[in-house]
């Protein structure tokens, strides 16, 4: 990992991930630690994302830091045509840390090159959302007691789902096995299959969402199948109800199975699953604050 910034999951070594897991664990045990006393953190959301911004700002507040920033670029100079470079340079004069979300891909990497203060990527277009990956990894680590040798089944939109792609890269250090369940139009892109092959990580692909596959899994990672992703709406109508998880499908699943979902959910997990102890998606979101506390303290070199 390039010292000082947190831009892409691909930058993280196995040791980086393990260190962040331990830190996340310590913040879960003791969330209120005044480690950012006297520090100012900027949250620059060029593209709105209420959930991610609140999670980061909660993390900063629990660490005793102060927050400046904006939640919508239409109120800032970038709407007047200011370049990203100029905005970052200006904010760097005020803050000790920048957390940014941007609709353009690579924006956080570029920002990290033009300033000396740490940059945390809170999402850059369809490219990366590494703090989501850290909370996904932590949710797996916490519920399974380890990251090694797990069978992870991913369901839904595997083509455009960046959380899916980043989780693949993050898990690749820990000898996983993957099962991919997706309609033909939303299959995992070839470059990720190549990545898995190069890293000798076994995987199987399915178009049918069957109990049989669920029963072989330790983690079931559900994603949303979005209508706007389909060029052929007849195809969407055919598959929209196929990738829905219902409680009755979990009857013979492993005891340690946990169901994850990056949220928001629409209809891909039936509401009767919520009361099943194997449903973990709400706790998963709560882990986001602890994971972000770990990331912030890590890039600032605190503890």
């Amino acid at each position: 990992m390039k010292k000082g910034s947190f831009v892409s999951v691909a930058d993280l070594s196995k040791e980086d991930i393990i260190r962040l897991m331990k830190k996340t664990e310590s913040f879960e045990t003791n969330p209120n630690q005044k480690l950012l006393e006297g520090k100012v953190c900027a949250t620059l959301f060029f593209e709105p994302s209420t959930r991610t911004r609140l999670s980061f700002e909660t993390a900063i507040n629990r660490l005793g830091g102060r927050v400046i920033g904006f939640s919508d670029a239409s109120t800032t100079s970038s709407s007047k045509g200011e370049t990203l470079k100029d905005t970052i340079k200006m904010v760097s004069n005020y803050a000790d840390l920048i957390i940014m979300r941007h609709h353009l891909e690579g924006a956080a990497r570029y920002a990290s090159e033009i300033t000396d203060i740490p940059i945390i990527n809170a999402g850059d277009g369809a490219n990366q959302h590494p703090s989501q990956t850290m909370l996904d990894l932590y949710s797996i680590y916490k519920t399974q007691g380890k990251l090694e040798n797990l069978t992870i089944t991913m369901v839904g939109d595997l083509k455009y789902g960046r959380t899916v792609h980043s989780l693949l890269v993050g898990m690749s250090h820990f000898q996983p096995q993957f099962k991919f369940i997706a309609p033909e139009e939303l299959k995992l892109p070839d470059i990720y299959k190549q990545f898995l092959e190069e890293n000798k990580i076994p995987f199987q692909e399915y178009t049918e969402f069957s109990e049989d596959v669920i029963n072989q899994s330790d983690v079931l990672y559900m994603t949303r199948v979005q209508r706007e992703r389909f060029t052929d709406l007849i195809e969407y109508e055919k598959v929209k109800n196929v990738y829905i998880l219902k409680n009755c499908m979990l009857n013979n699943s492993r005891d340690n199975l946990r169901i994850l979902h990056p949220l928001p959910r629409v209809n891909e997990i039936a509401y009767d699953v919520d009361d099943n102890p194997k449903a973990y998606y709400f706790e998963q979101a709560k882990n986001g604050v602890f994971a972000r506390q770990a990331i912030i303290s890590d890039v600032l070199g605190i503890i």
């Binding site: 370049t83 941007h102 353009l104 924006a107 990497r109 570029y110 850059d124 369809a126």
Partner: protein, 153 residues
């Protein structure tokens, strides 16, 4: 031309650089990538010359110009088999082969319209992640670009 009666296809150079074995169809791209039209020294451009190895080739003889390695590496993407001869006082004093560098700065355009490099006044950076098959990866949006999809700036 009889085989024992050799004749130079273009005149010899006193001091400068000879870039030989340029595929004919890439010759003018090479000229433009090396900014040769901006030079003020005498330059001979040979086009569609006979070549035993290549059938048809291009050659550039540039007087008084010695390229830096990163300057000439700009052409390795389109003419990887090119040979450079450095000439001093009519003698070849050094032969250089091109190597695809590990990184390409300001040479290739990112094919992703949503990439920051296509939206900010900035340089592009690509890592060459596969030298054999020529696959590039954008340092910013992380898009991987295969050889046939490469667009030069």
């Amino acid at each position: 031309m009889s085989p024992n009666k050799k004749e130079l296809q273009i005149a010899a150079l006193q001091n400068g650089t000879v870039i030989d074995h340029i595929p004919s169809e890439q010759l003018f791209k090479v000229v433009s990538l090396l900014d040769i039209e901006k030079l003020k020294t005498p330059i001979t451009i040979g086009y569609n010359l006979d070549s035993k190895k290549m059938g048809s080739k291009g050659i550039l003889k540039i007087a008084g110009k010695f390229f830096e390695q990163d300057e000439i590496n700009r052409i390795s993407l389109i003419a990887p088999a090119v040979k450079l001869n450095i000439i001093r006082d009519y003698e070849v004093v050094e032969k250089k082969l091109l190597q695809l560098p590990d990184e390409l700065t300001s040479i290739v355009k990112c094919n992703n319209p949503k990439c920051i490099t296509n939206n900010e006044p900035m340089k592009t950076h690509f890592q060459v992640i596969d030298k054999k098959n020529v696959t590039l990866k954008c340092q910013y949006c992380e898009l991987k670009i295969k050889k046939e999809d490469i667009v030069l700036l």
